[in-house]
Symmetry: C2
């Protein structure tokens, strides 16, 4: 009754292939399952608009799978692996240059779930930010509208931001 789990080591897998070599299709499938494209809008008195736009691509895993997160970091050649909540870790890309690389990858290797729609909205925001649109009130308003349509959870706070910017646009 003991030792029933013999021969269960990764060495019993096909040789000549490192377990953490990620292929593009695997990355697409894993992102379809676990990836998150998110556009945060935070108040920031230091900016001309009064808001900071914070887009991020994130994959969160239990600590036991931290190696997969580091493999993703190697794959995309950008981003960081950091502790997240409750013994979980996150692979996260926040800077525009890295997010452009991530976007270019998913433009050429399309997601298969409806997360694809979120990604395309995300990509629209990244493209606008590359042009500096987020630094002007009109562009920021458009980005907030896009962000409100993304992800499944409601974000009532964004509605307030949109209303506030909309009022300023009307006055100005």
């Amino acid at each position: 009754m003991v030792g029933i789990l013999r021969d269960y080591t990764p060495t019993s897998y096909p040789r000549g292939r490192k377990i953490m070599d990620l292929s593009p299709d695997w990355v697409v499938g894993f992102t379809d399952g676990e990836g998150r494209f998110f556009v945060g809008i935070n108040p920031d008195p230091k900016t001309a608009t009064g808001y900071q736009v914070l887009p991020e691509f994130t994959i969160v895993q239990h600590k036991r799978d931290i190696q997969v997160l580091y493999a993703l970091k190697r794959f995309f050649r950008c981003g960081v692996v950091r502790p997240d909540n409750e013994g979980r870790y996150a692979y996260r890309v926040r800077n525009l240059k890295g997010l452009r690389q991530v976007c270019d990858f998913f433009l050429h290797h399309p997601l298969k779930t409806k997360k694809r729609i979120d990604f395309l909205r995300f990509h629209r925001v990244i493209t606008m930010m590359e042009r500096g649109d987020h630094l002007r009130l009109e562009g920021l308003f458009e980005i907030v509208q896009i962000a409100m349509k993304m992800n499944t959870q409601e974000r009532p706070q964004l509605k307030q931001v949109a209303l506030e910017i909309s009022n300023r646009l009307r006055v100005g």
Copy 2:
């Protein structure tokens, strides 16, 4: 400010490739994220041991991604797509022949997360069931031991089953 999401249709993706043609690596990546290998042990007075062993491979998605579930069914050439809880749908394989196909696939295309360990335990159970080991008390006891080590959630009920079988083995 309206119509900002133009050009967001899948037709803007690389041509000559159907969006729901799944590649082996995509299936591995998606399963690493969303797949579940589970061995249920249910009381069943009709069997010699008093228990039925119910292994299953499952992938659950929101209804909006039901197409992905049907694509998985086509990919594995087995299983069913059925409603699950809370507006979600499940792709599920329960019969031994189908589970053998699923196991053979993941033996040749290894998972990259620690779910791999669950899969290898699951495969051990499937192999035992193919030999009919689950129909005898000793084999059933071994399967319960394996099932207790699988998945992250505690299954206190299985401990009771193991204790009960262990007592019968000692008496018999």
